[in-house]
Structures are given as C-alpha cells and as structure tokens.
Symmetry: none
DNA sequence: CATGAATGAGAATTCATTCAT
DNA sequence: GATGAATGAATTCTCATTCAT
C-alpha cells in the first residue's frame, strides 16, 4: 500500500511495470547517445519512447533517478557480459586479452549504450556541481582490471608497473576505440582489438 | 590562429576589445571546469567574469561562438607549448616522451583549461544533435602524434603497429591521467608521467 | 448531515464505505493542518492515510468534494459539542460564556480540525476565484451566537449593540486564540478563556 | 557590475525599475485578492500585469521573493498610515480609538491589499511546511497595540487585563470587519467602526 | 471495492537572445 | 562600447483526474 505516484520500490505489476521502465531507459540511452547529455531532456526522451512526458515522471522519481538507473543498468549488463568472458581465462595475460576483446565485442552490439553511459557519467552532476558518478578509477570494471594486472605482476607474468595507471589507460584506450568508431563506423573493431591487444601485450610483458 | 575566426563586425578598439575577449574566455574556461558543460550558462560565465550578461553577447555572436573560441584558444596555446618541447627532440622515441611529458606538464599548470576543453569538445553539439567538434582523431595534436609514430616506424625505431591506434591511445591515456588527477589532486603527475612513458616505450619499441 | 451530500452512485457496503470515508477525511484534516491548504495535494493526503491515491478518487467525486465534506463534517461535530454545552445555560451571559469556553475546550482536543477548517474555508475557491465557503457570518455557529446576543439585548441583560458585529468579533477572537496557540502551544488556553470571558463580559454588560 | 539577471539590490535604473516593481507587486496584490493565495500563480499575476511571465522572474528572485516584498510593502504602507494617526492622540483610549478607526479607514481604500496580505501571511510557507510569516502576535502592528494597552493599564486608564490577548482580539476584530465587508461591500464600515470602538471601550475601561 | 497506469494541464524557473538607450 | 530590460522557448516537476482491470 505504499503506492503514491512513483512506485519506487517497483513491485506492483512487475510485468507491465518493468516493460515500461525498460522502454524508458532504452529511450533515454538512445536519446543521450544521439543528442548528447546536455540536450537529452525528459521531453526528448519521452518523445523518443513515444509516450507522454508524465509517464517518465510516473515511473522515475525524476531525471536524476532515471539517469542513475540508466547507468546502473548498463554497468550491470556490461559487467555480466565481461565477467563471463573473463571466467574462461586462467592466465593474467589471457584475462587482459579477454577484457579488451569482450569490451570491444560488447561495444559493437551496444554502441549507443556505451556512448550514453560515457556521456552521463562524464556530465551528470549533483546540485552543488560535484560529479554524481565517480569516473574512471573506481568504476568496479576498472577495479577488476587493476586486480587482474596486480595479480599478473605478483605472479611474475607481467613486468613491474603501476597496475592502476595501466588499468586506467586500458579503460581509456577502449573509450578511444569507441570514440574513433563512433566518429567513423567504418573502423574495423576487430583490427582495432588486435592492435590494442598487441599494444598492451608489449606494454605489460617482461 | 583564432584571430581570423571572429564572427561579426567588431574592430573598433582592438586593445580593450581583446582584453574583454580574454577575460570572458577565461571566465568561460573556469566556469565550465567548475560546474560542467551543461551547467555553464552565459549567466554563470558573466557572473564569474564580474560583468553583465550582455557584454558576452556583445563580444561574441552567441554561446556557440564563445565556446568555439574557447576551444580554439586552448588548442592553440596547448599546441604552442607542446610544439616547443617537441622541437628539441630528434628521435621519434624522444618526441613521444616529450609529447607525453609536455602534455602532463601543461596540464599541471592549466588544469581547468584541460577540464574545460574536454567537457566542451565532448558535449558541444549543433542544433541537430551532431557533435560540433570532431573528437580525438582529428585534433591536430593527435595528428601530429600520429605522424611522429609513423615516422618512427618507417625509421625502424618502433615496431610495426597502427600509428593512429597508438596515437589515439596515448591521447586517451593523457585524458585518463587528467581524469585521475581531477578526481584526486593528490596523484603525483610526475610519477604518472614516468609510468606512461615506460608503458608506451615498451609498447612501441622493437 | 453529510450523508445526503454524497455525490455519485456509491451504496454497496455502507459499513466499509463509511470507514474509508472517515479515514480519508481524517487524513485530509491532518494533512491540511500540517502543511497548509495550498500544499495539501491528494497525493499527500492519500500518503498520510496510507492508501492509494485512487481510493480517494473512488470515494469522493474530486478534491472539491472531499474538502467540502471535511468542512461539513467538522462543522457538524463542532456544533454538536457546543450545542450540548449551550443547552445547560439559561441566561444569555451564561450562554456567551459557555460558547467561548466550549469553543476553546473543543479546540484543545481538536487542534488540527480547527486549523484545517480555517485553512480550507479561507482558501477553497471555485474555478472562477470566488470563495466556495462563505466565511464568518453565515457559518451557522456564528448565527447562533448572533441570536444569543440579540436575545440578551432584548431581555435587557446586555447593553444595546449590533449583535452581529459582536458575534463576528467573538468568533474572530476565538480564531485569534487558536492562532496564538497554534504558534505557541505553550499558551494556556484556560487563562486565555478567562481573559476573553472577562473581555466580552465587560463589552456586553450594561 | 553585480548585475546578472535579477537586480536584487535594485539600483540600476531606479525609475523604470521601480515602476515595474510596483506594477508587479500591485498585480500580485490584486491577483491574490481576487483568486486567493493558492490560485495566484506567477502566470496569472503576469497576465494581470499584462506582461510576460519572465519579466516577473527578471525583477524578483522567485515567487517567494515577490510575495515577501508584497507583504513588506503593505506592512510598511499600512504602518505609515496608522502611525501618523496614532501620533495625534495623547490618551491610551484615544490611541485605541485611532488605531481601530485608522485601520478601518485604510481598509476602505485598500481593500485588496488587506485581503491579499491576510491571504499571503496565512498561507505562505517555507519548503518544509512551516509558515514563512509569523502571524498575529508578532506583526509589529499588533506589538504596538499591545504596548498602547499595556501603557493604558499602567496609567490606570484601563482595567487590568492581559494586553496581548486584547491586542490580538482587536486585530482579529478588524480582520472580521474586513471579512464581513469583503463578503458584503454593502456593510457600512463607519458604523462598524463605531460599534467596535464602543465594544473595546467597554471592554477596557475601568 | 480497489488501484496501477497514464495523461494533459499548469506550476516555477532558467536560459539565450534581442533591442533601445 | 556597454548594458539594463524584456521576452519566448524550454526544462523539470507536481497535480487532479480518468480508465481498464
């Protein structure tokens, strides 16, 4: 009975409820990817979803809530995808390859998600101007990579370097790949993946 | 280079003219760096410059014009700084080192410029939603780096790789460094520079 | 008396029906008393009653209907209370005292009702901006008081004055008492009652 | 140069600036008086003033600012009027008469102001739901009256009573008069004044 | 009986821009 | 050169209400 306008706990009719939520989140993703964070108004998002503006307000507490759930959703999905790929590898180098490869694979099929999440994370701020999402380093994804690299160094598989610097650089390299590809969809991500793999292979091996 | 991109008829008193323009551009830089692209309204910028909003409108054709000139200004300054440092190097590896090093040096003393330019370039769009600035690859800065790397490969100084991929990656690595540093000013950019130099040294050498 | 003012077709289970109606009316009272007329939305009222917004819409024709029934309900209850106290008095002065005293007594135990009814009566308007409730004079309560005073003058118990002016003033004095007490619950309504009784005693006696 | 959008300090072009401010305040007064606090949106106020909605935003920081200035303005004007009338009286009873009389006189020529100020003071709240204006007791006007009464008691001119209770009651009596008159403009305020004067004369004299 | 879902109207506010002075 | 004043468009959000289930 805690209903009211926004079913923030989201339990009621899970089937239609979830469908709408997905629909709106997807619309938000595509809108941000298409016109950028600053231009992605609730109006435009609703328009894209072909629903009324107030439906968004009904399902989400506000713009902040929506964008945060977009980010969470994408992080979760991305991580589920990558995690599965990492699990099949045993060596640190193998995991590094799998990390780069699966990231670019995921990108290929979820271009706008990647575009959107970058835009939102980079721009979304609290009222006082401080970023709402911590960037780069403490995204769990990068933390995982840091741990992989650290392990590789400890095991003597890699040369001695600062694992966080390299992890951040790998993460940024992937963003760069995405950026190149976003700019020119003709770029072959397969080739790009091979180049990056080689690059970080040389950069990390003894 | 930004002198020929001025939009409207504005030639009266070049001295006071330029002073105002600089003042406004600086205010824009600091405002964007502080509150982010989406929150950087002309109001806020004018407020930061301690001038009336209309002064901005008087000296620039509009918000777009202002932001574009901010970007041009920063690109020019940055390039002037880096160019000088590159000129003293003879080998390709030396130039790569100098490039990384000078970039991070420049950052250290122009943090908000870097923050701002990244924000603007990443977010500024035309009315139809397409990015107003091409990112990453065709910034002249990255093109120069590509050329350095290409030359190094040709000269046999570097192993064989796609110079553009590496150039983009270096560029992104520097952005990553800036991001880390923006998040935590306690990060030692000197150490970071050494790590990155080593990383790309291993990544490029034969 | 509010039973015949129900708007639409609603007759099924009178027992549960009435329970709900009371619950909602009580929630409305407390909400208006707490946050004021202008901020008392159906959402907030439903929230306070721990029910869904639509339940309100189901039991009342609309917000107007609800608020009108709140007022009617409170008027009825208040009058029932005061009437009993007046009945025990024989002189006009005694009735005036009983009126003031019983009003303040009622207030003490129904603070939010009084607060709410004042707020609603003072603010609720029809679409064209005219007040939906006539204030002050034609509340039956004040009319009764007018009659008491008129009788007292006729009987020679009181000096000659305009009974309506005094009745309104008594009514307003009580509202003033409530206002003082709402602002500062530390005010002793017993003492306040004695002061008011004395005041109007002097004001009305020959 | 501290301009920006809202010249809150209000210094720039005092002539046109003040004219607009008055115009908007007047429009606010009449709008609140006509449709009530809860229905008095900035839209309606602007419409009444025959100006664009944003002009209001330009001259006032927001709705709160506007309404607070309305109240301040009215309080100031009212007090200036009443003060002058009080100054000509020497006895406490004379001052009490002058107070009642001047209040009703002022009302007669500023009906909507009185209506509006009552509405705003009674309804305007801060975000957390607490009233933004303290009512009744600590309006300086009532405090002045309290002091007049206290003095009269001390001088032996009045009987012994709680001056604050009587002051509040006088204030409320005037509101009641206004209410009666607002409801029925046919009420003769001159007669009403005589009645109230007599009432409080009897109520306070020894 | 009850209620989730949906919606359009309207709220306050911010913004970029124009114009007369 | 400079700027107050004005404005319309657009933004986020809240609200009362309706409807199918």
């Amino acid at each position: 009975m805690q209903s009211d306008s926004r079913p923030s706990g989201r339990k009621r009719n899970p089937i239609i409820e979830e469908a709408r939520r997905r629909q709106i989140i997807d619309a938000a993703v595509e809108t941000v990817a298409a016109v950028g964070y600053a231009q992605a108004s609730l109006s435009r998002i609703a328009q894209h979803a072909q629903i009324s503006k107030s439906v968004v307000s009904y399902h989400f507490a506000g713009k902040d809530d929506l964008l945060e759930q977009v980010v969470t959703q994408i992080y979760d999905d991305t991580w589920a995808y990558i995690e599965a790929r990492l699990a099949t590898e045993t060596t640190s180098a193998g995991k590094l390859h799998a990390y780069i490869q699966s990231n670019l694979d995921y990108m290929r099929s979820h271009r706008s998600r990647l575009l959107a999440v970058g835009d939102i994370v980079g721009n979304h701020r609290t009222a006082d101007g401080t970023p709402r999402f911590a960037t780069i380093t403490d995204e769990s994804v990068v933390m995982v990579l840091t741990e992989i690299l650290r392990q590789g160094i400890e095991d003597g598989e890699f040369r001695d370097f600062d694992p966080q610097v390299v992890a951040v650089t790998v993460g940024q390299a992937l963003i760069g790949a995405l950026g190149r590809w976003a700019l020119d969809p003709g770029v072959d991500l397969g080739v790009y993946a091979a180049e990056l793999t080689a690059l970080f292979d040389h950069a990390t091996r003894k």
